[in-house]
C-alpha cells in the first residue's frame, strides 16, 4: 500500500487508516525531507514524531511501544511520544507533529517546506 499525496504546507493530510497501524506499533511516513513515525498505542491514541532518536538518530518507528512511549531500538533511550522528550535520566528531544483520528482515519499536519 503506497499512499502518494500531494502536500501543501501546514494542512491536515490523511495518511493511513487506523487499522493499518498495528496496536503498540507504528508506520513510517516518508516525506521529501525526512521520515515521520506514526504510532498507535494500546488505547488507540495516535502520535506522530520525527523518526529519529535525539541520541544517535536511531529509527524510533522500529522500537517497542509501551504506554505512550517508545524505546529506541539502537540504545534503549525512552522517548515520550506526546512531547518528544527523552525520559529518565537521558536528555534530548525529537520533533512532534500534530495528528488526529477521524472516522478511523489518521490525519497528519506536516510542517511547511
Amino acid at each position: 500500500m503506497l499512499a502518494k499525496k500531494k502536500v501543501q504546507a501546514s494542512e491536515w493530510i490523511e495518511v493511513v487508516a487506523l487499522k493499518d497501524i498495528p496496536k503498540l506499533g507504528s508506520r513510517v511516513i516518508k516525506t521529501d525531507v525526512m521520515n515521520i513515525a506514526v504510532f498507535r498505542t494500546a488505547k488507540d491514541e495516535v502520535f506522530a514524531v520525527k523518526d529519529q532518536c535525539p541520541h544517535k538518530q536511531g529509527p524510533l518507528s522500529q522500537g517497542i511501544v509501551h504506554g505512550s512511549s517508545v524505546t529506541c531500538p539502537l540504545h534503549n533511550w525512552k522517548i515520550d511520544l506526546a512531547s518528544g522528550q527523552a525520559l529518565g535520566p537521558d536528555e534530548g528531544c525529537t520533533n512532534i507533529y500534530p495528528v488526529r483520528v477521524e472516522d478511523e482515519r489518521v490525519y497528519l499536519k506536516v510542517p511547511a517546506g
Partner: protein, 810 residues
C-alpha cells in the same frame, strides 16, 4: 480521604520504606516523619568516611529537607517522640501530637555502653550519629590519646578515622582476634598486622575494669591492672536495638521489637523496620537487610500484601581505605564442612571458602575482594559448585571472564580508566555519579551513566565499584530480583506462574502477577513473550509487537536503519547454485557489502527494509530459509571438514552438523544459541566455546556445554561421551530444551550453567534418562511449530505493514 502514616526514626530504614511506598503509590497517605537528629536522612554507614574526612556531611546526605517538601512529607527534625498512645493511635512529642492510622517504628539501635565505673565521664561516647562524629573531630583537635573499646567492624573504622585525624589510637578488644564475628584467625591476624603497620596499637584479650578521670576521662584500666592514657573513649563494643518507645507502649519486644514476615509488630497497625527489629529471632546490625525489609513493609502499607520478608543473608566489608576485606556467611568450619584456602603472604592475599554439600556456606577474603559479590551470590543461590570447584578460589575471572583480564583490579584503577567499553564510561564518572546522585543499585548506575547497560561484560566491575564506594549499603542484586520496574516478580517466578497457573497470553500474565504498567516495557514484554512461546508451543500466538525489531523484521537492524540478511547454510555447506542465488540477490537489491561470517555463512549488509520481502522470496525460491542471525534463537552449527576429506577426521562432522542444524533450526531460545561439531580433538570448529559443542573422537562423540566465545570467553564443561549420532541428537535437543524451559530470558548458556551448576544439568540429562527423553520429545514437539520459515511467510505477505512505508510527496 488520605490515611495518616507516621514514621518514628528519620534514618535509612524508615525513609527507604517511605521511598518504596511512594514508588508504589504516592496518594495513599499523609506522611509525617519524626527524627531526633536535626538533619534530613543521611547514609549512616558513611559515618566512618566522614570521620576520616574522606566525605563531608553534604556528601553523605541521602534526602535533604527539600526532598521531604517535594513529596509532601512533614518532617519534624530534631523532635524526639516521647511516647506512643496506642489507644488513641497518636504519638506524642512534647507539644506536638500526631495521630496515625499506620505507624512505622524505625528507631534503629544504640551503642552498647559497657556498664563499668566511669562510663558516664565526659569524653566517653558511642559511635552512632553525626553528633558523635563531630564530638570526635573536636576532641581530635585538642587531645592526643583515643581508646576504642571493641575491635569489631565499627571499632576499627572509628580507630582508623581518629588516627587519620592525628590521634594516637589504641584498640581494646576482649577476644583474641579482631572482628571475630566476621573473620577467622588467619585473616584477623593479617588485618591486625596491617593496621599495626599504620600505627594502630592493640590490647587484645583485655577486659576493661573501669574508666578513670576527674570529670573528663583520663585513663582506662584493665582487670590485670594495666592503665593506658585516654582523652577520648569510644565505646564500640556492639549495638542494641533501640526498643524503649515500643516497650513503653507495651508492644511485644524481646531483644528487638518482634515482627512477623510482613514487618508487623504484635499491634497490626504498627510496623517496624531496620536495626530495632527482631525477625525470626535475628536482630540485624547491618544496613543491607533493611532494603528488603523496606520493600516488604511498603508492599503491605500500600495494601498489596503479596510480599514476605524471609530474613537476609548478610556480608560485610571493612571501610578502611587501603584494606580490602570481605566476609559473608559462616566462616568457621564445622564438622562435615570442607574448607578451601588460598594464601599468598607476599601479596597480602588470603581467601577462604567454607563448603558444605557442594554449596558455599561462607567466605572470608582479605587483600583481594573482587570476587566477594560473586561468592556471595553463589552462596545465596546455593549453587552447586562441584563443577568448577577446581577454579573457585581463583575467582570468576578465572572461570572465563577473560574480557577484562587484569584490568579487573578495579579498586586500584585510575579515575580515567575505562570501565564500560561499549559506552566509553570511565571509573571516575561512575564513582562521582554514585556519590552525587546517591546511587545504590546496579540499575541506578546503568540508567545514570550507561555503564554496564549494553553488553554487560563490565557488570562485575561496576558492582565492585558500587560496593567499594557505598560500602555495604550497596543494594546487592537480591536473589529474587524483579525483571524490570513493571513488576515485583523475578524471571523464575514468572516462568513458574506461567506453567503452574496455565497462563497462556500476555494479558493473563500481567493481570495474575499485578503488573504495574498497562503494556509492560521493552524489557519485560520480549521476556514474557518468549516464556509463553516456550511453554505453550502451538497454542500461544507470538506477539510481534513484543519482539525486538530484529526479530520482528527478521533481519539485523544496522546503525543507518538498513538491515542485513543471512540465509541459513546447514553445517556451513553450500553449492555453486546457492552462491549464484546469493550473488544474484546482491546484484538485484544493490547490496553494498557482503561478508563471510564467523558462523560459516554469508552476510549481506545494507538492505532497505522495504526490499526485504522480495529479496527473501528470491532466496526462498533458491532453497534458502532464514538463518535467524538476528534472533535469540538457534544460530549456526559450525563444522570442520571431517573424515570425508580430512586425514585426521574421525567421524563425519559436517554431516552430523547438518543433522544437528536440521533438528534445531528455527527454535527460539532465551538468548542466541550456537553449536559446532569438530571431527577430531584438534577441534577446528572451535566446539569448546559454543553453547553446545561436539568433539568427535575415534570411539564416539564428546559432548560439551556452556561455552562462549563472546563477551566473556568461557570454555565448555564436558557433559558426557556418547557412542552414536542418534545419541548426539537426543542429548543436544534435551540440553537445548532444558535451557529453553529454565534459563532466564537473555541469559546465555554460560552464565546459566554457572548459575544452576553443571551437576544439576548432569542430573537432569545424564542421570535421569526418562527426563532426557521427555525433554527431547518436548523439543521435537515445539519444533513442529517453529520450523516454518519466517522469510517465506513474509515474502507471501505476512505482516506486510511492517515492511511497507507510506509516502507523502511534496
Amino acid at each position: 480521604m488520605k490515611k495518616k502514616l507516621v514514621l518514628i526514626g528519620n534514618g535509612m530504614a524508615g525513609i527507604r520504606t517511605v521511598e518504596e511506598l511512594l514508588k508504589i503509590d504516592d496518594s495513599l497517605y499523609d506522611i509525617t516523619v519524626f527524627g531526633s537528629e536535626p538533619y534530613g536522612n543521611y547514609n549512616r554507614i558513611m559515618l566512618s568516611p566522614l570521620l576520616a574526612s574522606e566525605k563531608t556531611i553534604d556528601e553523605i546526605m541521602l534526602n535533604d529537607k527539600e526532598w521531604y517538601a517535594q513529596n509532601d512529607i512533614t518532617l519534624r527534625a530534631g523532635v524526639t517522640v516521647e511516647n506512643i498512645d496506642r489507644i488513641n493511635k497518636q504519638v506524642n512529642a512534647g507539644n506536638v501530637k500526631e495521630s496515625y492510622d499506620r505507624l512505622i517504628i524505625a528507631t534503629g539501635s544504640n551503642p552498647f555502653m559497657l556498664p563499668v565505673p566511669g562510663a558516664d565521664l565526659e569524653g566517653v561516647i558511642g559511635f552512632r550519629d553525626i553528633a558523635d562524629v563531630e564530638n570526635m573531630l573536636t576532641t581530635a583537635k585538642n587531645y592526643k590519646n583515643a581508646v576504642i573499646i571493641g575491635g569489631g567492624l565499627l571499632g576499627l573504622e572509628a580507630a582508623n578515622g581518629l588516627m587519620k585525624q592525628g590521634m594516637h589510637v589504641s584498640v581494646v578488644h576482649l577476644s583474641g582476634s579482631l572482628m571475630n564475628r566476621q573473620l577467622d584467625k588467619a585473616s584477623s591476624l593479617l588485618l591486625k598486622t596491617s593496621l599495626e603497620e599504620r600505627g594502630m596499637k592493640f590490647y587484645m584479650q583485655a577486659d576493661t575494669e573501669c574508666i578513670l578521670g576527674d570529670g573528663h576521662v583520663q585513663e582506662v584500666k584493665f582487670k590485670d591492672g594495666t592503665r593506658i592514657p585516654a582523652d577520648l573513649v569510644v565505646m564500640a563494643a556492639g549495638i542494641k536495638p533501640n526498643i524503649a518507645l515500643a516497650q513503653q507502649a507495651n508492644i511485644y519486644c524481646d531483644r528487638g521489637i518482634v515482627v512477623t514476615d510482613t514487618m508487623q509488630t504484635y499491634d497490626p497497625n504498627i510496623y517496624a523496620v531496620g536495626e530495632c527489629v527482631q525477625h525470626r529471632n535475628v536482630c540485624y546490625g547491618l544496613v543491607a537487610p533493611l532494603f528488603d525489609q523496606a520493600k516488604v513493609c511498603a508492599n503491605h502499607l500500600a495494601q498489596i500484601g503479596t510480599k514476605q520478608y524471609e530474613g537476609s543473608v548478610i556480608s560485610t566489608k571493612l571501610k578502611v581505605t587501603g584494606i580490602d576485606l570481605f566476609s559473608a556467611g559462616q566462616f568457621d568450619e564445622k564438622e562435615g564442612d570442607e574448607t578451601l584456602i588460598l594464601q599468598d603472604p607476599s601479596q597480602g592475599v588470603y581467601k577462604k571458602l567454607v563448603i558444605r554439600d557442594n554449596a558455599i556456606k561462607g567466605a572470608v577474603l582479605y587483600g583481594d575482594t573482587l570476587d566477594g559479590s560473586w561468592y556471595f551470590q553463589l552462596m545465596r543461590e546455593k549453587t552447586d559448585v562441584s563443577g568448577f570447584r577446581n577454579n573457585l578460589l581463583f575467582g570468576q575471572h578465572d572461570l572465563g571472564d577473560a574480557g577484562h583480564g587484569e584490568e579487573s583490579r578495579v579498586i586500584a584503577m585510575g579515575d580515567d580508566a575505562e570501565i564500560c567499553g561499549c559506552n566509553g564510561v570511565c571509573k571516575g564518572e561512575i564513582v562521582s555519579a554514585i556519590g552525587e546522585k546517591k546511587l545504590f543499585t546496579l540499575d541506578d548506575v546503568r540508567s545514570h551513566t550507561k555503564a554496564s547497560s549494553s553488553c554487560g561484560s563490565c557488570t562485575a566491575l561496576v558492582e565492585a565499584l558500587l560496593a567499594s564506594t557505598v560500602g555495604e549499603g550497596y543494594d546487592a542484586a537480591p536473589s529474587v530480583k524483579p525483571i524490570c520496574g513493571c513488576t515485583e516478580y523475578s524471571h523464575d517466578q514468572i516462568i513458574a506462574a506461567i506453567k503452574e497457573q496455565q497462563l497462556k497470553d500476555m494479558r493473563s500474565v500481567f493481570e495474575y502477577l499485578n503488573w504495574k504498567t498497562d503494556d509492560g516495557c521493552h524489557i519485560c514484554r520480549p521476556a514474557v513473550n518468549y516464556y509463553l512461546l516456550a511453554r505453550w508451543p502451538g497454542e500461544y500466538v507470538d506477539d510481534s509487537q513484543s519482539r525486538f525489531i530484529n526479530e520482528r523484521a527478521h533481519g539485523n537492524i544496522q546503525k543507518d536503519g538498513t538491515y542485513s540478511v543471512v540465509p541459513r547454510m546447514f553445517g556451513g555447506l553450500c553449492t555453486p547454485n546457492d552462491l549464484r542465488a546469493i550473488a544474484d540477490a546482491c546484484d538485484k537489491y544493490d547490496v553494498p557489502e557482503m561478508k563471510v561470517t564467523g558462523g560459516q555463512r554469508i552476510d549481506m549488509f545494507g538492505v532497505k527494509k522495504e526490499d526485504l520481502p522480495s529479496m527473501w522470496r528470491d532466496l526462498s525460491e533458491a532453497g534458502f530459509v532464514s538463518g535467524h542471525a538476528y534472533g535469540k534463537a538457534l544460530r549456526t552449527v559450525k563444522t570442520c571438514a571431517g573424515k570425508t576429506w580430512c586425514r585426521f577426521g574421525t567421524q563425519d562432522s559436517t554431516d552430523l552438523g547438518v543433522k544437528l542444524e536440521q533438528l534445531t533450526w528455527g527454535s527460539w531460545m532465551p538468548h542466541k544459541f550456537k553449536m559446532a561439531v569438530s571431527g577430531c580433538p584438534r577441534n577446528c570448529a572451535e566446539a569448546t566455546i559454543k553453547d553446545f559443542g561436539v568433539v568427535c573422537v575415534d570411539s564416539g562423540y564428546e559432548l560439551h556445554v556452556g561455552g562462549n566465545g563472546g563477551i566473556k570467553v568461557r570454555v565448555t564443561d564436558f557433559l558426557v561421551k556418547v557412542d552414536t549420532e542418534e545419541e548426539v541428537l537426543e542429548y543436544s535437543a534435551a540440553f537445548a530444551q532444558l535451557y529453553r524451559e529454565e534459563a532466564h530470558y537473555l541469559e546465555r548458556t554460560a552464565p546459566w550453567v554457572e548459575r544452576v551448576g553443571l551437576a544439576y544439568i548432569k542430573q537432569q540429562i545424564l542421570e535421569d534418562e526418562q527426563n532426557r527423553k521427555a525433554l527431547y520429545e518436548r523439543f521435537k514437539y515445539s519444533q513442529q511449530f517453529a520450523q516454518i520459515d519466517p522469510w517465506k511467510q513474509r515474502a507471501e505477505g505476512k505482516q506486510r505493514h511492517e515492511f511497507t512505508p507510506l509516502e507523502l510527496v511534496g
